[in-house]
Structure formats: C-alpha cells, structure tokens
Amino acid sequence: MKHMLTINDLQARIEEKEILKGINLDIKPGEIHAIMGPNGSGKSTLASVLAGRADYEVTGGSVQFNGKDLLELSPEDRAKEGLFLAFQYPVEIPGVSTTNFIKSAVNEKRKYQGLEALDAAQFLRTMKEKMKLVEIDQSLLSRSLNEGFSGGEKKRNEIFQMAMLDPKLAILDETDSGLDIDALRIVANGVNQLRTKDNAFLIVTHYQRLLDYIVPDFVHVLYNGRIVKSGTKELAFELEEKGYDFIKAEVNEATA
C-alpha cells in the first residue's frame, strides 16, 4: 500500500541539545496513529520539525510526504501539500481574526492546487458548515485570533481550522488537554467526521480517554527522542494502567 508519511531515522536538535535521536514512523492513508510518552520526551518537537519550525535543526534522517522530501519544503508549502499541525499552545495574534486569516490560508492553498479562489459566498458556506462540525461560534471567529480565548476555545479553533483546510495528514498535539468532557467529544467527533480512507491523523496525547472516541490503528511510545514501543489500542490501556515506568525500565535494560 502507498505510504503517506515515511520518517526515517530522524534526528533533530535545538541549541546544541539533541532531542530527536532517530525516529522511524510510517503512516498510510486512512490510518490513525497515536503518540504517547512522558513530558519532555520530544513529541512536540517531532510535530514542530514535521511542520517546519526553523528553530530546530535536523541533523540526520529523512521524511517523505506523499513522495516529496518534506524537509526541503517551507512551512507554508508543507501546509499546502496537505500537512496540518494543531498546536499544543496556539499562538495569540492580536488584530488578525480567524475568519480573515483562514480565508487567505484556504485561498493560498487552492491557488497552489491550481484551483480558483473561493468567492465570498462560497467561503461563507464552507465556514458555516465547518463551524457546525466543531460547534464553534461566529463571534469567536471574528475576534482577534486566540486572543483571550479560553484553553478549550483555542483547541476548538485549531480543529475548526483543520476542517477548513481539509489536510491529508493532521498532527494534533495534545488537542485534548484542557478540554472538558463535552468539548472533548466535539473535537473527537469533528476528527471522526473528517476521517476518510485518504487522509491520516497523528495524535499526540497523554490520555487514553481521547482514544475512546478516536480509535487509533497504532499507538507509539516516544521516550527520550526515540519511539521505543509500538502497539495497538491495547498499549494505551496498558500505559494508562501502569504508567511509563515499565517502558523506561525496558529501555534502560536494553541500553544497559
């Protein structure tokens, strides 16, 4: 089967500090992968490196995304190729409304794909539809982006943007943290409705709870810059029950 994302021995550092120490991961269309792992293990770093954040220096390895060398692309081109990152900490941008900027984003992507820009009416229609999907209010979207949004509103806005941009691969970095039960259900529901046989999700989470709603095909454990264990949904249950100690012990034994 065709691969969507192939990460091969990816290594990255920031300011002399090595964080990713050889990541290998394969994601095929239609799959949902979950990444779990202790704080500071490198999950957000992996997400940022994939999205193209310049602070991180890739020191080794390769990433193929739909047959293209992902690491060669600018962040905006990665997005236009169909990569989406829902940020763990969405940035507040005063003076720029979601409505306003997502319109530019959608149309820049369409232009890249050789499609006509959406006119005002078409854009509004799409927006209404996606707003319903994530149960987000118009008033929130006309406000300055994320400015003064509650934690949950920020996360919901990320999912709204994802819905608008209709990515091939969406990376959700702890989108579930800070959400109340209802919001969690709404976000999960949004993801499930956007799921097709052609797109894929990489979900970073600390809690098995989210995986009750979004059922992953694979669960990986990232520890100390490496994926040290992969399994199915059951692995998440095991982690929830036992914590990371048994994994850390396994790793330390193997490297000892």
Partner: protein, 434 residues
C-alpha cells in the same frame, strides 16, 4: 555647510514690510534665529535629527510664482475628500485661485494672516501667533517665524460644524533646484464647533526639498477638533513641522500622524490643555524603508485639573530606516486628577533599521494617573510560524501581522475612504519592499 544667518539675512531684509503686529513678530523671531542659529546635534532636542546638514547653499527660498498646473492637484487629491474645503500651498505660500471652499463664510473664514492681524481677529492673532515658540526655543521655529507675514489664517465660526474637512495640500516645486518652503498657519476653532484639518505634502521635481512648517491652533470651549497629517512625499523630501493645539475647557483634540516616506522628517506635535476637562488624543504610525528617518516629538502639557490625554505611536522600520519617538508629558502643579497615557511600539524589520524611543514625564501634581511604555522588537516569530503553518506565505504572513500592528492607528481615521486609501498605501508598501 552654509552660514544660515548670512544666507537668510538678505532674504529677510528684502521682504515686503508687513503691518506692525507682524513686523514686530518677525523681528522678534529673526532676533531669536540670529541668536540660536539652526539646531546642531548638540541641541538636546535635535541630537538624532541632523537638520543642519540639510541646509546647503543650493537651497532656493523665494516666493516667485511657479507654473503649477491644476493637474498636479488632481493627481494627488485624497480619496473621500472630493467635496472638501481644499486649500493649496505652493512653496509655502497659500494659493487662493487653486483653492476651493465648500463651507461658506458663515462657517469658515480663510484669509491672510496680514489681514487677520489688522481686523477683528487681531487680538486672537496677537495672543496665539507664536505660541509654539516657548516649547521649541530653536532656530528652526524662529526661522519660520521670521517669515510669518505670508501666513494663512483659518477660522471656524462659533457654534458651526463644518460640513466637510479642510484639506491642505502642500506642494514643493523642486524642478529647478533644492526647494525650501515655510508654510505658516494660524487656526481658530471657536466655541462649540466641530472641524477636521488634514494636511498632506507633495514634491514636484527631482531635486530635494525641505518644508519647515508651523501650524498653531486654538480649540476653544466645547469644540471638537480632528487633525490628520499624512506624509508620503518620497525620498529627497525633508520636513520639519510643528503643530501646536491649545485647548480650552471641555474641548477635545484628536491627531493622527501617518509617515510613510521622506528623507529626514521631524514632527513636533504639542497639545496644551489650558482649561479643565479637556481631552487629547495623539496617534502616530510610521512605516519606513530605505534610509528614511522620522522623528516624532510630542508634548502634552496639562496645566489645569481633570484632563485626559492618550497617546499611541507605532513604528515599523525596514532597510536602513530610523524611527524616533520622544514623548513629553507635563503635569503642572494645579493639574490634579490628570489622566495621561502614553505608549510607543516599534518593530524592526531591516538589518540596519533602528528605533529610538524616549518617554519623559514631568509630574508636579500628586493626584494623577500617568502611564507610559515603549517596546522595540522584531516580528513575533511564533505568530509568523503559526500563520505559515497554515499555508500562508512568509511574505503574506508578515504583511498580515504588520497590518494588524498598524490597524489600531488606522482605525483612528474616521473618514472611511481616507482610511481605506491609507490602508491600501500600507498594503502596497508591505508587499513591495518588505
């Protein structure tokens, strides 16, 4: 460098003799100029703005007529002001035949300063002309005053609201050489009136220009006055301008200064609150590229209690440009219950761009609320990455962020068409040079 005193002496001496009031005023200013000379970098208020270097022997300063076609005016007409009262100055001299007034003489009076200083407005002229001298004891202000007799007087009559703004177009004709000009305007905004003055500047020709302007405005009781200064003259245009607004009780004054280009630009803006319950608002945006240098000096002088002032200046500097902000707030002994706020924010884009910012608060009353703050930084990298990660190109992401940064200044321009026009100038700039 030229000897300015010698250079201007002949021109000063050969002026037509004005009436006694103006003659005395000019003489007083000429004496100051002779004593003070042009400010050098040693002058505390001029240390960043090397205005002395701009003056060279090449300058042309005379009041000869130029062959100015009305086409020049139609080229630069500000959008949304088709029916405005339009006043044209060429090389610092008011041109009645090129000017059009939509508001009648029951509301709006436009006449020469020499006329105003001999008729029923003579007392006003005597009281207010030169009110900015005290705040700017320097040769630049005095040099303008030495030639004030050719100035213009504007009056908005008591109890009247102007139906249209007053737009003042200043042209510098530099086709035959370095053009120096000195507009002088005295404005009386009488009690209970509402009026807006917009000033804008243009250079014709390829030589340099320097406009040294003084505008003095008195906003009387319960009057509401708005002032907009738009500077987009291009390279080789230099500017030193002082606008002073004296406020009487319960009046409001609102000023927006937009600087988009220019070689060396110095704007002095003074709001002097001479009575209780006045409100002053000062907003500024400077968006600079090339080697532009724009220096905004503002003064808010609270002399009486219960006044409010609010000030926000924002700068974006690209290439080798420099933005300078100096904001003084005086709260005098009697000015209890003063609220005075000031903020200056700068974004540096260019490798060699720079910003200088200096708030100066001098507070002599004890029951006051004052705050000030300034920032100099780069574009927010996290915000930039966030937008790019959504597929917005780096250039557009920067433009979006800079636009957002500038937006709260633009919003201060009430006239929608004018605001949109300035917005479009900014958009153009953000995609072309940044």
């Amino acid at each position: 460098m030229m000897d300015a005193k010698i250079f201007f002496n002949d021109i000063y001496k050969s002026q037509d003799q004005p009436n006694d009031l103006l003659k005395a005023f000019q003489q007083k200013n000429w004496n100051s100029f002779s004593e003070l000379d042009l400010p050098s970098v040693k002058h505390e208020e001029w240390k960043y703005t090397r205005i002395k270097n701009v003056f060279t022997e090449a300058i042309q300063y005379n009041q000869d007529k130029t062959d100015f076609s009305e086409e020049e005016l139609s080229k630069v007409k500000l959008p949304g002001t088709a029916n405005a009262n339009s006043l044209v100055f060429i090389n610092g001299i008011y041109q009645p035949h090129l000017s059009t007034l939509t508001d009648g003489s029951d509301r709006l009076i436009i006449k020469s300063l020499s006329e105003a200083s001999t008729d029923e407005d003579a007392d006003f002229v005597n009281e207010h002309l030169g009110c900015s001298n005290a705040y700017h004891p320097d040769g630049i202000n005095a040099l303008n005053g030495s030639f004030a007799a050719h100035g213009l007087f504007i009056k908005v009559k008591k109890g009247k609201e102007l139906s249209q703004p007053i737009v003042i177009y200043h042209f510098s004709d530099s086709r035959s050489g370095f053009r120096f000009s000195q507009p002088r305007i005295l404005v009386s905004i009488e009690e209970n009136t509402i009026a807006t003055i917009i000033e804008t500047y243009h250079k014709i020709g390829n030589h340099q220009s320097l406009t040294n302007e003084v505008v003095e405005i008195c906003v009387e009781k319960a009057a509401h006055f708005r002032y907009i200064k738009i500077q987009n003259e291009g390279t080789d245009s230099n500017h030193t301008g002082t606008t002073q607004i004296n406020q009487l009780g319960k009046s409001t004054a609102h000023a927006v200064t937009i600087s988009l280009s220019g070689e060396i630009v110095r704007n002095n803006l003074n709001m002097v609150m001479r009575a209780e319950f006045c409100e002053s608002h000062m907003y500024g945006l400077y968006l600079l590229g090339g080697k532009s240098q724009v220096d905004n000096h503002t003064i808010v002088d609270n002399a009486m209690p219960n006044c409010l002032s609010n000030e926000l200046y924002k700068g974006i500097m690209d290439d080798n440009s420099t933005g300078i902000f100096n904001g003084k707030i005086f709260v005098r002994k009697d000015a209890q219950k003063t609220n005075a706020y000031q903020s200056n924010k700068n974004i540096l884009l260019g490798q060699n761009s720079s910003a200088n910012t200096k708030p100066q608060l001098e507070i002599f009353a004890d029951d006051v609320k004052c705050s000030h703050g300034c920032t100099i930084g780069k574009l927010d990298e996290d915000a930039l990455f966030y937008l790019r990660a959504r597929g917005i190109s780096e250039q557009n992401a920067k433009a979006l962020l800079l636009h957002a940064f500038a937006a709260d200044i633009l919003q201060q321009i009430e006239l929608e068409e004018l605001r949109n026009y300035i917005d479009s100038l900014i958009s153009e700039r953000l995609t072309i040079t940044i």
